[in-house]
């Protein structure tokens, strides 16, 4: 019996072991890493300059020279899809970064402090969640002005209340645990209890939510760019490529297929990864 005590597995190693057993999640993780690599090495991977126009190559169907065909001004669709990964992935990561960076501290504060701080923050969260996600994001980014960075801010702000609510709920549950009581009993200051004792214990659900939120943010960025509120032309983005493709659906359907498929592929991977993480990190899940 005493043998097993020394072999106690740390929770992260256990989570990783569980995640590895899930084929879907591992494929998704691989795809996510692949997409990030494509975005980072876009200048090396893309066969052409994504903004290079050619009037002899207008709306050409896929060939060996242009695997995904060319668009309405003769640009290579494959190169634009590859460069578009930069806009979509950075929008996903940056806006969720904003949401986590603002939402987690505020949620910790609301859950830990309680009282009027909690009441005020919770009502603000309710108010923001009452406005449908995309409508708030569209309105915010329109008011801020159309650009990729403003779209990221708009999506980040819109996604923040979900993280406040989740962190608050988790904090409420965790702060009555014995280890928090013990930390308080030995005289730790509040900030130390919140950051060193509470936060590490509520990371798993936040990680799951972050992965799903990245999927949502990628769709939102594509939607904003589709409406002309995100990445501005001629810089490539999957959403704005779909927008121009819509006008040439009868003549050049490949223009619409590939950027949409790229969005689907990226979003699917983050959703699958989030589902896998949830199964792997939830201690109740066997």
């Amino acid at each position: 019996m005493s043998l097993t005590i020394g072999l106690e597995e740390n929770p992260w190693a256990r989570a990783w072991r569980r995640l590895r057993r899930r084929k879907g999640a591992m494929v998704a993780l691989f795809v996510v890493v692949f997409l990030i690599a494509v975005a980072v090495f876009a200048p090396l991977v893309a066969p052409y300059d994504p903004t290079l126009t050619s009037f002899t190559q207008v709306r050409k169907p896929p060939t060996w020279a242009h695997w995904f065909g060319t668009d309405e001004v003769g640009r290579d669709v494959l190169s634009r899809v590859i460069w578009g990964a930069r806009a979509s992935l950075s929008a996903g990561l940056v806006s969720v970064g904003i949401a986590v960076g603002a939402g987690v501290p505020l949620g910790l504060l609301a859950g830990y402090a309680g009282g009027w701080v909690d009441t005020v923050l919770s009502r603000i969260v309710d108010a923001m969640l009452a406005i449908p996600f995309l409508i708030l994001a569209i309105t915010l980014s329109a008011f801020l002005g159309p650009s990729l960075s403003n779209a990221m801010i708009a999506i980040g702000v819109t996604a923040t209340p979900v993280f406040i609510r989740l962190t608050r709920g988790q904090t409420l549950g965790a702060k009555v645990e014995d280890y928090v009581e013990a930390a308080r009993a030995v005289g730790n200051p509040h900030w130390r209890i919140a950051l060193r004792h509470l936060l590490p214990n509520i990371v798993p659900p936040l990680l799951v939510q972050a992965s799903l939120a990245i999927a949502g943010a990628i769709i939102a960025e594509a939607a904003l760019s589709f409406l002309g509120l995100g990445q501005q032309p001629p810089a490539p983005s999957w959403g704005s490529m779909l927008n121009s493709a819509q006008r040439f659906l009868a003549q050049a359907p490949w223009m619409a297929f590939w950027p949409g498929f790229a969005i689907f592929f990226a979003v699917l991977s983050f959703n699958l990864l989030g589902d896998g993480l949830r199964d792997a990190l939830d201690p109740r899940h066997k």
Partner: protein
């Protein structure tokens, strides 16, 4: 019940006030002078002064907010600069279009999502279950504007069966109306069906493990009766109440879907107003949306208590 109702009603008042402040505050984010934007080409200082006075732009922001709220509470949501009509009448004109679309989408989602959820729960960890889960993942991950474009390509461009855009009112010609809305409704319903399938699956799994289901089986009832009469009835309660929360998803989806299929509904009104800097309309529409969402949540909460006798205090 009465205590619960009163508490719940009192709770939504501060939320509504905050929503209105948030919506009003958005306008303050706007760079530049609103009077200049409203005046458009006009640069005459007298006209600008008139606009400032007419819209009380010289007053402090809290005073402006007070006047706006006073109007809102008496049913006046302001005036559209672009369309020269009241925001309330625009809302009344566009909302039925989106409601028809949302209603059809809901019907499609219920017809796909609930059976899929039941099957995947009853046949847990079989190919049926994996199939239904794959469908849910597809539904959650497909951007609806892409699905819309693909459908237009298939059914309008290639097959020529359905019109690619436009809208005919249900009262004018119901066949044509259905033809113009079936594709957008499917696009909207597809995502919702995925969410519904997941809700139904988890609620059904919980119900199938409950004591009353074991009792029903022990009585010798056949399996389909156990599933449909005993488990499903109990599982549907949380699913139906969760539907109220999905209303926001439906409206967010309608924004893009109406844009792609050029349907003159609520979503298109928002996008057009945003692009034309018609802020009174944006504020009014967002306020109506948020109020509807909050009211639906309230109704869902009440319904939940009503159908579950154990929650009645």
């Amino acid at each position: 019940m009465l205590v619960f109702l009163t508490r719940r009603l009192l709770q939504i008042i501060p939320t509504l006030i905050l929503v209105s402040m948030l919506i009003f505050g958005l306008q303050q984010l706007l760079p530049g002078d609103p009077a200049l934007i409203m005046a458009g080409e006009e640069r005459d200082p007298i006209v600008l002064q008139q606009i400032r006075e007419q819209y009380r732009l010289n007053e402090p922001i809290p005073v402006q907010y007070f006047y706006w709220m006073k109007g809102v509470l008496s049913g006046n949501l302001g005036e559209s600069m672009r369309l020269k009509s009241s925001v309330s009448s625009l809302v009344a004109e566009k909302l039925p279009v989106t409601l028809q679309l949302a209603g059809m989408a809901l019907l499609i989602a219920l017809c796909i999502g609930i059976p899929a959820g039941i099957v995947s729960a009853v046949k847990k960890e079989t190919w049926w279950d994996y199939g239904a889960n794959l469908f849910a993942l597809w539904g959650l991950s497909t951007p609806n504007f892409w699905l819309g474009i693909l459908l237009i390509f298939l059914f309008s461009v290639e097959l020529g069966w359905l019109p690619a855009s436009g809208y005919v009112r249900l009262g004018e010609d119901w066949k044509q109306s259905l033809a113009t809305t079936i594709m957008p409704a499917f696009v909207l319903g597809n995502a919702l069906a995925a969410v519904l399938m997941r809700h139904t699956r988890s609620a059904m799994l919980q119900a199938m493990g409950a004591d009353y289901v074991r009792t029903a089986r022990a009585k010798g009832l056949n399996e389909s009766r156990v599933v449909l009469k005993h488990a499903l009835r109990n599982a549907m309660t949380p699913v139906i109440t969760l539907l109220a929360l999905d209303f926001g998803t439906l409206l967010s989806g309608a924004v893009l879907t109406e844009q792609i299929f050029t349907i003159p509904g609520f979503g298109k009104l928002i996008v057009d107003s945003v692009f034309n800097r018609d802020y009174a309309v944006v504020q009014g529409v967002v306020l109506v949306t948020a109020t509807t969402y909050i009211s639906l949540n309230l109704l869902a909460d009440i319904a939940y208590v009503l159908v579950n006798p154990r929650l009645r205090g």
